[in-house]
């Protein structure tokens, strides 16, 4: 690992990225995770339970958002703790058959805390879709030593 904790400071930006999401992505995530709740793939079912439409799995958003941290850390195993609250659903429009995204998730990260004794850095993620915070208190603890 090339990151030296002494060279980090609280508030430091670790980067950002945009994640495009389609209905196909949700079907792939359902299959990979085993979460087949129809609110994530069936429009009629989703609206029938009072949702605006098909929404992304919260765990898809959480799992995709942490890739910024994984890539920054250089080793996926360095992420020793990761938590979030799910505050707003991410509706994913049906753009099947077009090259368009059904939703876009914007992720940015900054150092939230440093623990020199433990050799860890906490990365706080800001995760937005349609300018709304969809994850709150999204924090990943990374072991640097």
């Amino acid at each position: 690992m090339s990151i030296n904790i002494t060279e980090l400071s609280v508030g430091q930006d670790i980067g950002s990225r945009s994640i495009t999401v389609t209905r196909t992505d949700l079907v792939k995530y359902a299959g990979a995770s085993g979460d087949f709740n129809p609110i994530h793939w069936n429009e009629a079912f989703a609206t029938g339970v009072g949702l605006p439409g098909v929404i992304a799995h919260g765990m898809f958003t959480m799992g995709a958002a942490v890739q910024l941290v994984t890539d920054w850390a250089g080793d996926p195993a360095a992420v020793v703790d990761f938590q979030t609250r799910f505050t707003k659903p991410v509706p994913v429009a049906d753009t099947t058959g077009t090259p368009d995204a059904g939703a876009v998730i914007e992720v940015s990260g900054a150092i939230g805390a440093l623990d020199a004794d433990a050799g860890t850095a906490r990365v706080d993620l800001t995760v937005l879709s349609s300018a709304q915070k969809v994850l709150v208190k999204a924090q990943a603890v990374v072991r640097l030593a």
Partner: protein, 159 residues
């Protein structure tokens, strides 16, 4: 249907074993749009000191949600899955999940709180790897791998 308040404090013992396969790690990594080579290429994982492919940080949700299913599908729980909303999630990794791991999860219901006509239910899965080798496996030797906690909101009628 109302949530059974006696769920609090209930535990479900480790049930079926989840065998972590390389292709499942690759499939899950692609599904969360992960591109780190340690998820895909054994040599890249080994170069980082791992014995095999490394699972993405949220991979344990597969095992945790299987454990949760024991509670959700328990007719005694009163939970209607179609009214479940995921409220929060945490993963604490005691060590990374690596291809070849044989995992089991113990489920604990840590909290049940009435909210309007529904309820917020907090569960914790303690995930262990079975030690390899017939003798140690038979002896029930297991290593802590991850602790996951999850809160779900079960919406009441009209919520």
């Amino acid at each position: 249907m109302t949530i059974n308040p006696d769920l609090q404090g209930r535990s479900y013992p480790a049930a079926e074993v989840y065998d972590v396969g390389r292709e499942k790690i690759r499939e899950f990594a692609r599904a969360v749009k992960a591109t780190h080579p340690a998820h895909f290429d054994v040599a890249a994982a080994e170069a980082l000191g791992h014995s095999d492919l490394v699972a993405p940080p949220t991979f344990a949700i597969i095992v945790a949600q299987r454990a949760d299913a024991q509670l959700i599908e328990d007719p005694d729980s009163g939970i209607d899955f179609s009214r479940v909303v995921h409220a929060d999630q945490r993963f604490t990794h005691h060590r990374p999940i690596i291809a070849g791991d044989r995992l089991v999860a113990e489920l604990h219901v840590d909290g049940v709180r009435a909210m309007g006509g529904g309820a917020m239910i907090t569960t914790r899965s303690e995930i262990f790897a079975l030690a390899s080798g017939d003798a140690t496996e038979a002896a029930g030797v297991r290593e802590p791998v991850a602790t996951t906690t999850s809160s779900i909101l079960v919406r009441g009628e009209g919520q």
